[in-house]
Amino acid sequence: MKKIYAFTSVVALLAPVFTTAYAGATLDSVKSKGFVQCGVNTGVAGFAGTDDKGNWTGIDVDVCRAVASALFADADKVKYTPLTAKERFTALQSGEIDVLSRNTTWTLTRDSSLGLNFAGVNYYDGQGFLVKKNLGVKSATELDGASFCIQAGTTTELNLTDYFRANNMTYTPITFDKSSETAAAFDAGRCDALTSDQSQLYALRIQLKDPEGAVVLPEIISKEPLGPVVRQGDDEWFNIVRWSLFAMINAEELGVTSKNVDELAANTKDPNIRRLLGQEGIKGKGLGLSDTWAANIVKQVGNYGEIFEKNVGQGSPLKIDRGINQLWNKGGIQYAPPIR
């Protein structure tokens, strides 16, 4: 008798395992939860990090806040999961997070073989090198035989291999889990150069003991379009994330900022702005959101120019130039399809 009871109780405990793991669509689950679960970096200045009060800030964080504003009219309805480069895709694939906004490069392999979709590019970046000034190196072509500190599991490793093979040079890679560990090792002198996306190099340079003693070399050896990622299979969720980003870019193009959005909503006659703010046109019907979804985003988070300047631009310690992240009609390549 005891054996039967033991047996049946074991089977009963394992019963939940038999149900299919993931039935509903992401959008349904986010709506019923009431918040967006956002995967972000463990801590890179400008992209995702906590301040001393525990609030998350960064340009990737702002993308998630924009999605929350569009859905719930409240940019703070987001919960953040810090992820290392090795865990990020598994967390998204398994359903642990709803959207991954973690300075992730858009590549063919990731778009096609992981069951994921990239919803846009919020930062066009490229890979560069950081060296100490006392090394006396002025260009990446002088780095033959040098050792590099890299973060494991990133496109950085692959690009480094390609660049050195193409230029017939050799190098020694030293890989770490977290980007802060690479900075610490570079500071301690374990490697001659630090390589990562240029934006990260500026962010990591601030963490060094002597930031002025390190210089970013001029070469950019790869394309790194960074953007938010969602799972395949839920097109409605994909559209919402994609168009939240486009709304911010369009808002900057039309001159709508978080400061003047209310005043424009009341007074403007410009049909483009009126369509953006939900007063005419398709409003939120196609996306299944409220009419003022884009207005909420701009009011609570800001337009693209504002989030850029606040997090990585002149209003931040990084002071990165807009460069190719400027709007298409101002010399850069940020281009959003029209809202109509």
Binding site: K3, I4, F7, V10, V11, L14, V17, F18, T20, A21, Y22, A85, K86, F89, T90, Q93, T109, R110, S113, L114, G115, L135, L143, D144, G145, A146, S147, C149, A152, G153, T154, E157, L158, L160, T161, D162, R165, Y171, T172, P173, I174, T175, F176, D177, E181, A184, A185, A188, G189, R190, D192, R231, Q232, G233
Partner: protein
């Protein structure tokens, strides 16, 4: 009056379902079927879900070009090699650090365990402090401590410590000359094998002679002489078929020769010292488990303390020590996976880290990694159980 009169016939056989043997067989068979069913459902569920989400499955990724470099490879490795090759490289690195770690941890652990039982108060206290300190600090912190101590104290390559212009020590590692074996070296290898065979033969003969006549033979010194002398003779006879590749400072770092990277040194130091603190306690418990009467008898016979320890106490203590040693060796092997924290390219860092991230096939990669650790652990414990059986007291 006889209570049980049975008119001479044997008792009737109980019904099938009343027999304990039959019942237990049926239930065990049902349990096995249930386990197979659960396993099968789990597997099918996983495959179905992976397919639903568009995530690629299968082991085909092992033939895809890897495209990333690894700082320490015990076999030849280019960036154009496959992911399967990175698996091999990571596996060898894990085996290297586990093997060296086990050796060092055992040596340090035995020394510390015996030291703690020393009559010298200072030595005993120091050993106790060692054990208590290193047992109680988390291993990850110890690894990072050693790594940054090692890194920060060593000089940069351009100001390396150099020993006689051949060995260089700096932040990037210890560069030593590597031997280049030319043709004709096979004679020396044969000589080494021959020397080992002769030594085994001599030690057997010497022990048999001691059993017979009681005369001791200085086996150790003779073996040492043969081990060094015979290959040396072969080496000279073959015309010195060995040259050295010297490390030289070219550009940023030293090139040529072997480099022992600081990551390996830090990991080895931390693992050995940490595990040795546990092994010290195991050794101490084993020695204390041998009854004091053995020591007293040995002293009464006139044996010196060092002989007593080596010939009487430790062999009996081993019965208690070896099972605990097995656990500690397994712990050390699995703890070596913390290498990712310092950038040492072991199996977890290279395969379950970089390869998993580049290919996205988490299920296959983690399953392979778990299978490897399981195999290594089972091998170690199988060997230790065999050794334990050999050392057990045979009751008469």
């Amino acid at each position: 009056m006889a209570a049980e009169e049975n008119s001479g016939s044997t008792p009737a056989k109980a019904a099938l379902w009343r027999r304990p043997v039959f019942r237990s067989t049926v239930f065990q068979a049902l349990l096995v079927l249930a386990i197979i069913y659960i396993g099968n459902t789990l597997l099918n569920n996983t495959l179905y879900n992976l397919e639903q989400r568009g995530i690629s499955t299968g082991f085909g990724f092992l033939d895809v070009e890897a495209g990333f470099g690894i700082v320490q490879t015990l076999v030849d490795y280019q960036e154009t090699d496959t992911f399967g090759r990175t698996f091999l490289v990571g596996l060898l690195n894990t085996l290297l650090v586990s093997f060296l770690g086990i050796i060092f941890a055992t040596i340090i652990g035995f020394i510390m365990g015996v030291a703690r039982l020393s009559k010298n108060w200072l030595v005993a206290r120091l050993a106790a402090i060692y054990v208590e300190t290193f047992r109680n600090i988390p291993l990850l912190l110890q690894i990072m401590f050693w790594y940054f101590i090692v890194l920060n104290k060593l000089p940069s390559p351009r100001q390396s410590y150099d020993f006689a212009g051949t060995i260089f020590l700096n932040k990037r590692g210890l560069s030593i000359p590597s031997p280049i074996f030319e043709t004709g070296f096979w004679i020396v290898s044969v000589a080494i094998v021959l020397a080992i065979a002769i030594i085994i033969f001599i030690s057997r003969w010497a022990r048999a002679r001691q059993e017979r006549t009681g005369e001791q033979f200085h086996t150790f010194y003779v073996s040492l002489a043969i081990l060094i002398g015979l290959p040396m003779l072969a080496f000279i006879a073959a015309g010195s078929p060995l040259s050295w590749e010297m490390p030289a400072l070219r550009g940023f770092n030293f090139r040529g020769g072997f480099v022992i990277i600081p990551e390996l040194a830090a990991l080895l130091l931390a693992l050995s010292i940490y595990t040795a603190s546990f092994i010290a306690e195991a050794v101490r418990s084993g020695i204390l488990a041998v009854s004091h009467g053995q020591t007293e008898a040995a002293f009464a016979l006139g044996l010196r303390p060092s002989f007593t320890l080596r010939l009487i106490i430790i062999p009996q203590a081993l019965r208690v020590i070896i099972p605990q040693l097995t656990s500690q060796y397994l712990n050390l092997t699995k703890n070596s996976s913390l290498a990712t924290a310092v950038g040492y390219p072991d199996l977890v860092a290279v395969f379950a880290g970089t390869t998993l991230n580049q290919t996205g096939q988490a299920v296959e990669v983690i399953a392979m990694t778990m299978a490897v650790y399981l195999t290594i652990s089972l091998t170690i414990s199988a060997y230790m159980n065999w050794y334990n059986k050999k050392k057990q007291l045979v009751e008469r």
